[in-house]
Symmetry: C2
Subunit: 390 residues, 2 copies
């Protein structure tokens, strides 16, 4: 069923594992960070620049592409890889996460426990979810079958079952019912996947169950008992960092560990170390590329200006006369070429070069972080690596 | 006086010449196109990408940098080259062009013969020009001495005397008086240049005189008789293409042809062939990079969709399903990687990658154009080259 895919665990250190995930568009080493090319583009960065910064694997969002330019259009263009000019491994999500999280406000607001009044989600029923297109306001329906068919058209290597991304502000009863419906949706996703499997894609199951240990375990067992290629941990991970680590631990405990495990939407440096320690193989998050566009440059511990933040804000006036690069020991093209002062100036002058320059640094930074984490697993000194980065 | 600079004419074909212009930051081959890095950045493009597209020489605008971040700040940062991370030859203009053209509306509106009501120019007198800063509205004065001192702080290799950029809508009397004042300003510029010459920069004189043959000739003689390193042709070039060619011919006829000759603000493909045929060595214009940001991709004759335009507009719906690159025979990273359909989509989706991708193509295009023009001079077949490009 997944004959063109393979996941090999090469080495491990406690629960952390060093692996290789093989796809029809090449293999990548894990733990890996998957960068967001939300609308079929990592904002401001070319495929060549992605390769130069050591990028292994990208993600695009089904929700966004579903509305515009539409998956049928992308199929006509030869699929996402050809369209974007990216020949490496790719993942698409199911669309569910955005329908449910953007539906109630921003991702951070909703999944992480804050509400907002905004809604584009119209209705959820057994069939699927009705929502308004962010692109043109049209009423649209996404079902498990439609999500899989859409992801078939997009043509990413790794695709994800359709589920409801359960928010934090719901009681256990709703979370349980939602999880059970997600399981039915994931079964339908798997059936649709099998019905038209051409061996070019591999399907992830998603563990739901909110912050409830018994539900997370039930969901992990469900996913492991069905023939998904890999597992993603989804839904709310709680309202605090500590709760997040606990929920991830609950979710991973009962998983089939021969499969790759993805943690959806997590991209903080410390959080990645925590996730790796719990056996997570891949991460994705818009954070490194999004903060870059607002002047946030990720830095290792020694370069921080605040113990509360994993990045420096280059818009701050103190950087106007700082002639050092973002990180003196960084070899990215931005750090080799530009000072913090220049980047500060570009941000103040609204010069778009700032966006791509800081994005390049942050992507390179994340790729170096993952590289050192992989070495840390090999050398059994992950704690030492963490002290340098956090 | 210009011991670190040299201009050698290697070969010529009728009035066209093939040259090498040596500066402290390296030599470049002429005819050459100088790309606009207006505010110390070619919008969206890194120095590495500039080199990859064959770029030889950049320009930055004194007017913009004078107000923000200010030349003293840039001197503290080690000058423009270091600040921008560009180690190749650079030119700065005097600031006069923007004071006078932005002062009365847009460059295109004013210098090319159309008026608008907007004005930030307050007063011109013998000392210099008072204007309001585009950055913060402050009242500022630029004089010949201040322009040269500012350009010293910026540290470009090639710098330009301060003059009044005479608009089209002025009669001969005003144009003549303005030209004479420009000559006095240029003398003052030269004196200030000599006073603090450290051999790191070379000064251009500017030919004014509007559309009047006798004035252009007088101005050409003035510039040639003074110890400028090179000559720039400035001011209005008339209200039509035909008039422009006539004015450039008037201005070049009486020039010292041992010096490099720059045509300010011209960047159309056909116009460049005309200029080269009249002995112009260097050109600058914001056009190739500006149209790129609006989806305009420069193309050779065979790829055009209209005989009236030297570019295609990638926003047009016909490109939504066009899976070819901008130009099938172009080797730039954009044409190697992206289809017209993808670029069309990026523009429609407001993805900033569109801006840098089309800019890269247009810069590469202009550099290839100049390369083929240089070969055409060497092979004495410029007309043949022109038929391919226009």
């Amino acid at each position: 069923m997944y004959r063109n895919f393979k996941f090999d665990v090469i080495d491990s250190y406690e629960k952390s594992r060093l692996g290789i995930l093989k796809t029809p568009h090449g293999s990548f080493r894990t733990p890996a960070f998957i960068f967001c090319g939300t609308k079929a583009s990592v904002k401001g960065i070319s495929p060549q620049q992605l390769l130069e910064t050591g990028t292994q694997v990208l993600l695009a969002n089904t929700y966004h592409l579903f509305s515009f330019p539409r998956s049928e259009y992308l199929k006509e263009r030869g699929g996402l890889h050809k369209f974007m000019g990216w020949n490496g491994p790719m993942l698409t999500d199911s669309g569910g996460f955005q329908i449910f999280s953007l539906g109630h406000g921003s991702i951070a607001d909703e999944v992480k426990g804050k509400r907002s009044g905004k809604t584009t989600l119209i209705k959820i029923d057994e069939d699927g979810a009705f929502f308004r297109s962010y692109w043109n306001g049209d009423l649209q329906l996404l079902t498990p079958e439609k999500s899989i068919d859409t992801q078939r058209n997009l043509g990413a290597d790794l695709i994800v079952s359709f589920d409801e991304c359960t928010p934090y502000h719901l009681n256990k009863k709703y979370t349980e019912q939602s999880m059970e419906r997600s399981h039915r949706w994931e079964k339908r996703s798997l059936n649709e996947f099998i019905r038209c499997n051409d061996f070019s894609q591999a399907l992830y199951g998603v563990v739901q169950g909110g912050i409830y240990e018994d539900l997370r375990k039930r969901s992990a067992v469900f996913v492991s008992e069905n023939s998904f290629f890999a597992t993603a941990i989804g839904g709310t991970l709680g309202a605090s960092k500590q709760q997040m680590y606990e929920v991830v631990e609950m979710a991973t405990t009962s998983l089939d560990t021969s499969r790759p495990i993805h943690l959806l939407g997590i991209g903080g440096i410390f959080d990645i170390f925590k996730g790796v320690a719990l056996g997570i193989d891949t991460f994705d998050c818009v954070h490194p590329t999004r903060i870059a566009r607002h002047g946030g440059a990720l830095v290792k511990f020694q370069y921080r200006d605040s113990q509360n933040r994993e990045h420096i804000n280059l818009k701050r006036s103190e950087y106007a006369t700082d002639d050092d690069p973002i990180e003196s020991d960084c070899n990215c093209s931005t750090c080799r070429c530009f000072s913090r002062a220049y980047l500060h100036y570009l941000l103040k002058a609204n010069e778009i070069l700032a966006l791509s320059a800081v994005t390049i640094h942050n992507i390179h930074f994340m790729n170096m972080l993952m590289e050192e984490i992989r070495k840390g697993i090999l050398n059994k000194n992950l704690d030492h690596v963490r002290d340098k980065w956090c």
